[in-house]
């Protein structure tokens, strides 16, 4: 049985899917920071994507050199079918568990913490 996806891994897969042909370190990091407000380091993105690649969930190909990267290449990522399956499963589970619950969750989340 494959290891379940962590939250950060889900976010990464979704970002790569959303970015299509333009998914590499900078864009992925910005997408996650923009959507969640969470501060992510370039190193963390790279390490986690490397881990997903080792598990066969994404593939990567080095791109061309770009002048503003002082001669260093980008590494572009794509989601493999197994990655899509796993992220789909994770979302389905969350959907199933939260179905009809949103009003209650929102009510609880807005309760004054002092009381």
């Amino acid at each position: 049985m494959p290891t379940a996806l962590g939250e950060f891994e889900q976010l990464l897969l979704l970002a790569v899917l959303r970015l299509g042909d333009d998914a590499y370190g900078v864009t992925v990091r910005r997408a996650i920071e923009g959507a969640t407000g969470r501060r992510v380091s370039a190193g963390a993105v790279y390490t986690a994507l490397g881990r997903l690649e080792a598990r066969g969930l994404v593939t990567s190909t080095p791109g061309d050199t770009v002048p503003e990267r002082t001669g260093m290449r980008r590494r572009y990522y794509r989601v493999r079918p197994e990655g899509a399956r796993q992220v789909h499963r994770a979302i389905r589970h969350v959907r199933a568990m939260s179905d009809g619950l949103m009003p209650e969750i929102e009510r609880l989340a807005t309760v004054d913490p002092e009381r």
Binding site: S41, V66, E68, R69, T70, M72, R73, R74
Partner: protein
Amino acid sequence: MGSPRPPRLARWLLGRLLPPEATEYVAGDLDEEWLRYRRPAGRVRAWAWYWAQTMRSILDTRDTEVSMTPTPDRVPGPGARLVALAGDLRFAWRTLRRSPGYAAAALLTLGIGIGASVAIFSAVNDVLLRPLPFPDPSRLGALWESNVQRDWHQVEAAPANIEDWRARTTTFSDIAFANGFPQAVSLMTDEGPARAVVAEVSGTLFQVLGVPPMLGRTFRDDETYQPGLVVLSYATWRLHFGADPSIVGRTIRLDGRPHEVIGVMGPEFVYPISEADVWRTPAAMGARRQSIWWRQAHVVRPIGRLAPGASFAQADAELRAISADLEREHPDTNTGMVGGVTPLRTFLAGDRRATLLLFLGAVGVLQLIACANLANLMLARATGREQELAVRAALGAGRARLVRQTLVESLLLAAGGTAIGLALGVAGLQAIAAVSPADLAGVAFHLDVRMAAFAIGLCLASAMLGGLWPAWRGTRVDPVRHIRDGARSGTAGRERLFAANAVVAFEVAMAVLLVSAAGLLVRSFDRIHRIDPGVDVSHVLTFQVHPSTGEFPNAGARAGFGINFAREIQTLPGVEVAGVGRGLPLTGYAWSSDFTIEGWGPGRFGLGVRHREEMPEYFQALRVPLVAGRMFDDRDLAPDAPVPVVVNQAFVDRYFPDASPVGRRVTFDREATADSYWYPIVGVVGNERKDLPTAPVPEIIAHLRGDVPSTLTFAVRTAVPPLSIVPQIRDVLASYDREAPLLAVRTMEQVAAEASAPARFAMTLFGAFAVAALLLAAIGVYGVANQAARARTREVGIRIALGAQGPTVVRQLMRRGAWFCGAGLAAGLAGVLAFSGLLESRLYEVDARDPATSSSSPA
């Protein structure tokens, strides 16, 4: 702006510390984003962003569990050590973040210790270590004369002696001099009269210092006694002359007389001898070149520059030899006079060296307590982590590896503590500079090589002192026993508790040391504070006036001004009596001179009696009692009347223990000659303290007519709050002398407070150290007690279950702690006795081994 490039060091670190296959992509990502970010965010923020990303990327990619590289320990190649260190750092960072309470306690402890150290070291650096701002400053020396017979220690030299030294020396390339007593005089500016401190320097002083002027020129050798030339300081030039670029050659009014500006010094020039706004030559002094005064008056401070190849030892020996020759040539003035030289930096530091080293010792003790606390905290954690460490050891981690891991953690804490300490230290230094007495006022923080080395050294030393022992002890685990026994080890922490207790005993000892020192200083200050100054300091206003030489060119004119001005002040409402003369109580003595009494016979004379001049109202204003004879009165103002003197009680006690000096006559020569001037002694007054804390010495106080100082000091007794009459006095002064400003306006109470300020300052600073030490030691004791209780929870539980009484158990737990605290106390008291000699010089009428203070401090 240069071409935009990411921070080089960060790039280098990335190349070193990221897994090789990741470097290209991560670094490329950062470069690309940095370029986009730089313009909207600004350089500083972009730079900070790049560094933050670099550090976090390094930490985030060194995840050993998932790293695609071999484990750091086994990475071959030059970067291996750094890579391993980064892994340890990352691990330490994570563990600390997981226990914020522990991290905060450690950081706070170290921050307080290091903060105190940094503050005091900054002052030491500023006063003792930084080179003086002159070319080749280590070749500059301050010259002096000492005279054992007169109890003179490194005093100013007589001008005639300096001229002879200068003519005969081979070890100095030149000897210049400066008037040791600068004066505040009036300076006419475009906006009216201002106060300017004028320092008098010989023609070549600026050349000896090696500092050229910013504008114009400085004095020449042949101008030493030529009047009417002035060099301005940069501040005076900016403030009073609007930074006029064509000021050189302009004539300004200084001290009521025209002076030609010949030069302006640059903003970086610091005059080392005294305060100074402008410089002129000692032209007035030159008029007395032919008199005996020239070799008698020790009024100028020589500054010399060593000749190439000469050493201070050679120069000192040469000055001694020349002094011996001078002693033979001028026995009447030079008997016992010995010349010498001290490096200028040491000379300028003076008394402050001992004070600062004492403070440095105190913060050193505080720092040791802080390190002990760190050690304690780490020991406590090691207890909590025995299991973890045992497992790691079982899995093959070598002991060195575990020690290194612990040390990296203490290093990380020390680095954080140093950062906090630097911030606290700079703030602390500013507080010291603000509240300290004159001798440390204005000390400044300089981030230079010495400061950086000190901070880094302190950081490493703290990490080692705090971390090494716990690392060694903490990692001495027996995996087999621990894993087999699991949590069953009831009192297994016994050995470790002993270690922690020993550390606490050490902390208590150190804290006792500081608290005792503070206690002694408090008692000393209290004694000083209670000294009877011999005068009534309440309701007295004091100030000074330097009548401009242009309007009041000679002593007679100055005396007339002082007397008339004081009398007019007396007519103001709220004023009881106004005295004028030279100096005030608690501000030091003015002159000293040998004397003889009429009828003492040949060869009998008194050495170095203090003397000054006052008008009779001075004694009334300060309520100095008349003990015998009469006070000066209007008869003494007659031009043909002899100048009378009164002597103080200390003079009578020393020289007339069985008789009254009233009616005798005194002269300021060792041997009376036909030219000697005889002063009739008309009365005896009570002792007044001229400085703290030394006891009053014999004084002869002449009527103001005897010698009129160029700066007159006034003491005014009022029925109203003293400072409230200052505006009226200012108006009266303007009607006498439009150019002279009112100087040094203070109440006598303020003067007295300033006199005890050094004692108050030492007491306050040591008090602060002592409070910090107690606080830190208390944290340590609490930590260990807590740890001890937790480690023995199981044991205690079993005992109670077996029927032990609650109180008995508590007593047993406390006995152990108390035993160690007692040992610490004993060691601390022993330390107080051992180090008390260091403190002795700062104490007044308190024995450094004072048992009452020492033994009450532990309470």
